[in-house]
Symmetry: C2
Subunit: 336 residues, 2 copies
């Protein structure tokens, strides 16, 4: 069985061979940095699209490396691309840094790279520059990926959490907590089956279909920390409060089951393919219809509103309102 060796991260022939036969072959595209240590992107490719560059990064350390609905490779492309897309930008170019543990099965790495390449290709995203490090056995757990991404925001598009106002409605693009519950079930061996599939998806096509809806104030993908973390970020950035309706939260039965079993709240669970959107009240219904018309937004719902009174609150099934604190930490490390 072929495994990753220290030599493959050392700058010698072994590394060049790995890069050429695996990464370059899989990520092949006209802008890929093959002869220089940098990708060079003509600025007119940016200025044709908009007037601001969006730039974001995430490292992916998820355990296990693959899960129902995806793997670390798909996640590393979707996650960073989504962080760019939620600003209204079209994600276009990614960098990619691998940290590999000596002894990692080469078949695992190849599978992850293929998954990244396929996800990127499908999304019209080019992986244009990269780096590979190998650390000795025990110095990392199998495989970490960092991606940084560049996109361009169209002129005139001004989405940002600071623009939220009292009266605005909050929508989510679908069921909550699918990714977190899936990883929890897998890692804690809860043994639940059925509908537990990560929602890991590239949201750019859905967001592109929403760009012309007026009244959109802010958009965020609800990853680590879940919708609750986004609600707190929205509240902090706008100086307003957020009130959510428990009955309105779309949840898959299997996710509800995990939550009840463990006494956890799906609002705190990570999603990897769900938007939280703040929109002016008069456009909320239009936005909801637009979301539901798209395969990635079928289960969209209006889940709450922005209010003047600071804080984040949840109205329960019996009309009782309670404060939603941001937990000290999420239930689960290495969720993404």
């Amino acid at each position: 069985m072929s495994t990753v060796t220290l030599a493959q991260g050392s700058g010698g022939r072994a590394m060049q061979k790995l890069i050429a036969t695996l990464f370059m072959a899989a990520f092949d595209n006209p802008l890929l940095a093959t002869q220089e240590d940098q990708a060079r992107i003509p600025l007119h490719l940016l200025s044709e699209v908009g007037d601001r560059l969006a730039f974001s990064t995430d490292s992916y350390v998820i355990d296990p490396l693959s899960f129902p609905g995806g793997d670390i490779g798909k996640l590393a492309v979707c996650g960073t691309a989504n962080d760019i897309a939620v600003g209204g930008a079209t994600p276009r170019w990614l960098s990619c840094g691998f940290i590999l543990e000596e002894g990692l099965e080469m078949a695992t790495l190849e599978s992850v790279v293929r998954s990244m390449a396929a996800t990127a290709r499908e999304a019209g995203i080019a992986i244009v520059t990269g780096d590979t490090k190998v650390v000795p056995r025990g110095a990392a757990d199998k495989l970490f990926i960092n991606t940084a991404g560049i996109g361009v925001i169209p002129e005139g598009l001004e989405w940002g959490a600071a623009r939220l106002q009292p009266g605005d409605r909050l929508l989510v693009s679908g069921t909550l907590g699918d990714h977190g519950a899936t990883i929890l079930n897998l890692r804690e061996q809860l043994g639940l089956e059925g509908e537990l599939i990560s929602d890991c998806a590239l949201l750019a096509p859905l967001i592109a279909a929403l760009r012309d809806v007026p009244g959109i104030r802010a958009m965020r993908d609800a990853t680590r920390g879940g919708v609750n973390a986004v609600a707190h970020e929205f509240a902090a950035a706008s100086g307003c409060g957020i009130e959510l309706e428990e009955q309105a939260l779309p949840l898959k039965p299997a996710v509800r089951g995990v939550c009840e079993l463990l006494g956890l709240d799906a609002l705190n669970f990570a999603n990897e393919g769900k938007l939280v959107i703040g929109v002016a009240a008069e456009w909320a219904q239009t936005l909801l219809e637009r979301l539901r018309a798209h395969p990635l937004g079928r289960d969209a719902a209006i889940i709450g509103e922005v209010v003047a009174q600071r804080g984040v609150r949840l109205s329960g099934f019996y009309g009782v309102q309670r404060t939603l604190d941001l937990p000290h930490s999420e239930p689960l490390p290495r969720i993404c």
Copy 2:
């Protein structure tokens, strides 16, 4: 003693506090993404400088975290900035992804972050977006950093290894192998002292001073794999050969000592602040003088030339020429 906890990577309050009090405070700048998951950079800031965006990434996994002449924080800024600068671009914006091991001393992290911030500030580089992950004890070794960087290449500047031609001269900007020998001495406890200091430095100011020298074909910073790896890359990209003169290679006595002690070749040692430049023969002397006039280029030397006959060769002290193969691997893992 305060240490890093899993909660600080989990998307909850503990993470928000770490980001606000440590990262945001240290990296503070007008473009830093504080309310969104992305930095937004007006495109006119790019188009004022040039016509192509340069984009590069590196992960840093060096062991130990600090060393004579620098630490992983300084390295993470300089290394990626240098990869951008060698294309002729001015490095401007960096992303930064931390992977932290649970239990890492907070004082260590703070020191690394301060070092990154100071290095970036001095260089006029803004760290504009970031990410923090914490993995359980044993799943990573202390601290890894990824940076991705953006710069802009001035119009008309066309440096690239494919442009090298037979007759061109090769120069280095200073002594070879300082970084590699320093880490080797530290890690293998060779006990050598004196001049062993990493050359870790931001090369952009030196490169800026060279931009108007005519005849520059290609430039590379000789990191992992050393000058030998660059020579092989230059040869492969240009379809030419490279001949180096052993007598011309600038080496500090202490580095020469390490090499003789261990039977290693400084040409394969990593540098973190040294350029290899290919230049038309008629401009080699001008370039040499320009390099030597700058504090980062005082020990610059002409070390060889580009020839038609493929391969990389070294002429030794007695005039004997031998083929320089690219080694299977570098002598040392986790050098950068």
